[in-house]
């Protein structure tokens, strides 16, 4: 499973959508999230989760709702 996912990352030529990856590998989306998190723990992927970012220092945080709605969690392949 993990090998297939990493192979998908290695061979992909464009960004992927997690749901699309789930369908390609026929893995349930929630199970895939667990596997991706495992790969993050093992240092194979980096995760970028906007939920982990605070906007304390941003002077425009009051008017910015895009940060919470526009940015999604993503997994970056470390090669």
């Amino acid at each position: 499973m993990l090998k297939e996912i990493m192979a998908e990352f290695r061979t992909a030529r464009a960004p992927m959508c997690v749901d699309e990856l789930s369908r390609t590998l026929e893995i349930d989306a929630s199970a895939l999230e667990g596997i991706l998190d495992t790969l993050v723990q093992r240092g194979r992927l980096n995760v970028i989760d906007p939920a982990n970012y605070t906007c304390v220092s941003c002077p425009a945080k009051g008017g910015c709702v895009i940060l919470t709605n526009g940015l999604q969690k993503s997994y970056v392949f470390r090669g």
Binding site: P15, C17, V18, D19, I48, S57, A60, G63, V76
Partner: protein, 566 residues
């Protein structure tokens, strides 16, 4: 199956990790069994697996046990043998076996035959994020959004303009007369504050409509798709695909967009993206686009505004290519997977709340930064004290001295140059300054007519009703084949647009708009760039954008003249 059976099954369950791993586990078990200190705390098989995985906490614990180092040596040799077979680290091989078992079990026990493989979101995504259709759909969405912003807000824009230049000015003048305010205060409030702040507040309806549709796109889940879609487009520029997300944020305000580059992996991507963010048309530039669009290209203002937004994106992509091959080169591509939220129909209350939050930010800015700039600017336009012609004022003289720089771009009047100078503070100030220069002057020449308070309130209410009816007609007229709008209704000029058309040619206006789109970011954005990437990159941003803006404006104006458009 009873509960006791389930418990028994669980106790007996042993996951098979494959012959190679199982063989190594079997080799380690006798060594572990000889360590009573360890077997008292851990099950031998579990400990063997953790040693093969190289679990740091367990390794530390085993080191402290008698003969622990011998056990660790054996475990390391076992791991090396497994890695030689699998071609990957043991922890991955073990995790792979676990997930493989879970996946197989889930497929056996979960019946998904009644479930559709593709949800509604998936079906919409197949069209919206399609490689061929995705970009045209995005362009159509952008065009419709700006068409709505321009057409629906136009009647309200005229209404607010009428309220500010009519009743609000009358009330302020009456109040100043009542308190016997000195003449200079009279002039400062009417020609400085009301013309300056009011000139920007006129665009609140337009920004409200823009924010409403941007919020609708965000909350519905489409904006995340746009980011995903444009990732594919950005990849070829040499930038990281995820760079488009901060760029998209730049449509709102460049300051949070610069901070959002923190979500990028490496410094090179962060700096490159941060330098491109200001090329996105932030909402502060919209008033400039709307004023010039309605004044010079009233029939095609929506197309012009959409074009300026798209030009910003294309320019950012082009500059990205240059940056990735010069200033910031040698970055390996990294591929990524993005989670996309399901589509949803946002509740109206939430939409309005978010829209109001953004609009409030703009109004607060008008009441603070723009108010302060308007007052300072008024003084600068009246120094040395008593100067009759603003061109002879301190501000006029400085602006006039800098104006020749823009002669090749067609807008070398001191008024346009002065507006661009104050635009460094905030881009909305460009309109505010022009309003002070042109409308403020005009107000001084044409005193407001005498009306009672009741008449003014009545005028405001009737005006709002008329604007709402006109906006409704505009909205219905967007349906192909339907036109409820009279042609003459579309060609109403505000005082500012009349002054602009008298002072600039349409080609010079286009060059001016290109300059406003590209030139040096506002001080808040430069501050964010300095905070995130350092002073050097702040100067790079300020300098390259000014030079690029000048070059493009000159190209547009000279090119247009060459083609006979001037």
């Amino acid at each position: 199956m009873t509960a006791s059976d389930a418990t028994l099954s669980t106790k007996l369950f042993k996951l098979n990790y494959g012959s190679e791993i199982e063989a190594e586990i079997e080799r380690l078990l006798p060594l572990i069994d000889r360590q009573p200190e360890l077997t008292a705390s851990f099950k031998p098989r579990w400990l063997a697996i953790k040693l093969l995985e190289g679990e740091p906490d367990i390794i530390e614990r085993v080191k402290t046990a008698p003969d622990g180092s011998a056990l660790l040596t054996q475990a390391q040799q076992a791991s090396a043998r497994i890695e030689a077979v699998y071609g990957d680290s043991v922890d991955i091989a073990i995790a792979d076996a676990r997930y493989g078992f879970i996946h197989g079990l889930a497929r056996q026990v979960v019946d998904t035959s009644q479930l559709s493989r593709y949800s509604l979101t998936d079906r919409i995504d197949r069209i919206v994020t399609n490689r061929l259709l995705g970009l045209p759909i995005f362009l159509v969405v952008m065009y419709v959004m700006f068409k709505l912003v321009v057409d629906v807000s136009a009647p309200y824009l005229d209404w607010v303009d009428g309220v500010i230049t009519g009743p609000v000015t009358n009330w302020a003048a009456s109040l100043l007369n009542l308190v016997a305010a000195p003449e200079w205060l009279h002039a400062m409030i009417l020609d400085g504050v009301i013309a300056g702040v009011g000139g920007v507040l006129v665009f609140v309806p337009g920004l409200f409509v823009l924010y409403f549709f941007l919020t609708l796109l965000e909350d519905s889940g489409y904006m995340a798709r746009v980011a995903f879609l444009m990732d594919k487009f950005m990849s070829f520029t040499g930038l990281h695909g995820k760079s488009f997300i901060p760029l998209i944020l730049g449509f709102g305000c460049a300051v949070p967009a610069v901070y959002a580059t923190r979500t990028l992996e490496n410094e090179r991507d962060r700096i490159a993206t941060g330098l491109l963010v200001p090329l996105m048309s932030c909402s502060a530039r919209l008033p400039v686009y709307v004023v010039f669009g309605l004044a010079f290209f009233p029939q095609h203002a929506d197309l012009l505004i959409t074009g300026l937004y798209l030009f910003g994106i294309v320019l950012a992509a082009g500059i990205g290519v240059i940056f990735s091959r010069t200033l910031l080169k040698d970055n390996p591509d990294s591929i990524f997977a993005l989670e996309l939220p399901p589509y949803r129909l946002p509740p109206l209350k939430g939409l309005l709340t978010h829209t109001w939050a953004k609009t409030k930010e703009f109004v607060q800015k008008a009441g603070t930064v723009i108010l302060a700039v308007s007052i300072v600017l008024w003084f600068l336009m009246n120094l040395p004290w008593g100067v009759e012609n603003p061109r002879q004022s301190l501000f006029g003289q400085v602006s006039a001295a800098a104006a020749p720089i823009f002669a090749p771009a067609g807008f070398d009047g001191w008024e346009a140059t002065g507006s661009l100078m104050t635009g460094f503070i905030a881009k909305e100030v460009v309109v505010s300054t022009m309003s002070q220069i042109y409308v403020g002057e005009a107000d001084g020449e044409e005193p407001a007519s005498e009306t009672t308070f009741g008449e003014d309130v009545g005028e405001i209410i009737v005006g709002f009703g008329t604007a709402t009816i006109d906006a409704g007609k505009m909205l219905v007229s967007l349906i192909p084949g339907v036109n409820l709008v009279e042609v003459e209704e579309e060609e109403q000029d505000t005082a500012l647009s009349a002054a602009l058309t008298a002072n600039l040619s349409p080609l010079a206006a286009l060059a001016f708009l290109i300059f406003v789109l590209v030139y040096t970011p506002c001080v808040a954005t430069l501050g964010a760039i300095k905070a995130e990437y350092g002073q050097k990159w702040m100067w790079v941003s300020a300098t390259y954008q000014f030079a690029l803006a000048w070059l493009l404006a000159v190209l547009v104006y000279q090119g247009g003249q060459f083609l006979g458009w001037g």
